[in-house]
Amino acid sequence: MSLEDSLFGIHGKALQLRSQRLELLASNIANASTPGYKARDIDFDAALASATKDQGTVAGALDTAMGYRVPLQPSADGNTVEMSTEQTLFAENAVKYRTTLSFLEGRLNTITRALRGE
């Protein structure tokens, strides 16, 4: 177990994955009107499980957990971005990013207090 993992536990990798997912969803939103664009996303649970197992990396986890979005109503130009879906997931992911941040904040406070010996 690396130093980073023992300091931050699951939250370090979770934050990296949340940030990567934010980029994926931003790409989908950016391409909302590009004909033929296929929206992609990651299965977050699977990605986190893969990243936190032995010798697991964030990049490897992204590769294994990435998939294409199945549209609720396919559009005629082959674009599979649905604004309602993407925006909901983006908001959800942003909130969960904040949650992970506050977990990290708690860890950091604990460590700082232990170091000070108060």
């Binding site: 994926l24 790409s27 950016a30 391409n31 909302a32 990435m66 925006q87 983006f90 941040l101």
Partner: protein, 134 residues
């Protein structure tokens, strides 16, 4: 481009693409009432062509690969009193579908707003991350 795309690149370039689209719509609407003396001179609606730019799977932004002239035909109108009328007394109205342009305008502005929202959210998340542990 070697540097990996950040969310700021992704949304920023998507915003410029939507702006090109908004400009094209503005040109089309401005020329919607234009009259020409021949079919060849008549104004035709212009449209940007969007294309995905991607470096690694899933991370992609958008660019305008070209701006093409649409095939909406110019409409012939018989108006002998018009100063531009040809020898048959016909003039050509610009080939612009105004309702389609208005719909396009609303869609482009909505998507621009969506990208601004993405940027704002990302910016505040990044600032919160920087403040971590302070």
């Amino acid at each position: 481009m070697d540097k990996p795309l950040s969310i700021f690149d992704i949304s920023g370039r998507a915003m410029s693409a939507q702006l090109v689209r908004l400009n094209a719509t503005a040109s089309n609407l401005a020329n919607a009432g234009a009259v020409a003396g021949s079919e060849a001179q008549a104004y035709r609606a212009i449209r940007p062509v969007f294309q995905t730019v991607s470096q690694q799977p899933g991370i992609a932004t958008v660019q305008v690969s070209s701006v093409v002239t649409s095939d909406t035909p110019a409409t012939k109108r018989h108006d002998p009193s018009h100063p531009l009328a040809d020898k048959n007394g016909d003039v050509w109205d610009a080939g612009v579908d105004t309702s389609a342009e208005l719909v396009d305008m609303v869609e482009a502005s909505r998507q621009y707003q969506n990208n601004v929202q993405v940027l704002n959210t990302t910016k505040s998340l990044m600032l919160e991350t920087i403040r971590l542990g302070k």
